[in-house]
Symmetry: C2
Subunit: 187 residues, 2 copies
């Protein structure tokens, strides 16, 4: 039930249309909470039924009509209430780990190719994140203070992606060399 709260967090910053929310779910908050336009439009409809949001219709001459949503007092209450209830830690659920677990059942070259592709994807993501991070540090202190919280989530993303690449490199090295790990991880 968190898409609702993610939307409320976004609307608490500023009113937005469904379309604009979808953009935000592709960047920024989208690094750790994705949502498609189908989900967003449906959720906004539900939330409007629950009176958590209201909207104003802008009839534009050139463009199709646009609904600009904003949070209601009830929405604000739902948000603060959500903060009071601890969230469940998300479950790790990665098919690639199932494949590594059952690696003996696959042709090694096939699995290695997939691991390499995945490594490349994570490396690319690290680069993206590092660029965003550099942009954050290019700002003056007041701006850095303003965007501290989003930046903290970016730090999580960077750590996660780096950890992923380290593990993948290690697995590739071991599978390709046929060696056994010499010692516990990180020791």
């Amino acid at each position: 039930m968190s898409l609702k709260h993610a939307i409320l967090v976004l609307l608490s910053d500023q009113p937005a249309s469904g379309y604009e929310l979808v953009q935000e779910f592709r960047s920024g908050i989208g690094n750790f909470w994705k949502a498609t336009h189908q989900q967003v439009y449906l959720e906004l409809k539900k939330m409007h039924g629950e009176k958590l949001v209201r909207y104003e219709v802008e009839t534009q001459d050139t463009r199709p009509e646009k609904k600009t949503y904003s949070m209601t007092a009830a929405g604000r209450r739902a948000l603060t209430d959500w903060f009071l209830h601890p969230a469940k830690p998300p479950k790790v659920r990665d098919p690639l780990l199932v494949k590594v677990y059952g690696a003996a059942l696959a042709r090694p070259a096939v699995l290695i190719a997939e691991l390499r592709a995945r490594l490349a994807a994570h490396e690319k993501q690290v680069e993206n994140y590092r660029r965003m991070e550099q942009h954050y540090f290019d700002q003056d202190e007041p701006v850095r203070r303003q965007y501290l919280h989003p930046y903290l989530t970016l730090r999580r993303g960077i750590r996660y992606e780096c950890e992923s690449t380290e593990w993948l490199r290690e697995v590739l090295q071991l599978l390709e060399s046929g060696e056994l790990p010499a010692k516990p991880v990180g020791r």
Copy 2:
């Protein structure tokens, strides 16, 4: 559609009942792919309809009857085919990150308490994993070679949990001190 393949990976090792598979989803493979008994029994039924598994009923005197499932030739084919198609990287989807992102909307003490609880949970998980890892290293080389692949997934778990604790400690330190991060992560 990976629960199916996770079950096939488990059955490729040895035949098992639904109940026994559920146990495995609570440990071992359960570290990165969870499934409840409801899911497992339903999936086995579907897979039987697709002829990916067969079962033999053991009518026990004392216990309720037990179906022991094993993989069919078609099941084996479905598995090798699955290995040929790269898996999509799982999406990160963590409500706690949404909370940190919108931390300004919560009472700091409330969020900090939740972060602390989460940190404790991750630290406990690291301990569990470290115990399993120690057990692996207590084995002789042939056994370590035999269990290399599951152990590689355990290494991923350890890395992930450690990364989580490091990030949480960092966030707690920054939120409690009111400081801004001095430099990019890990530099």
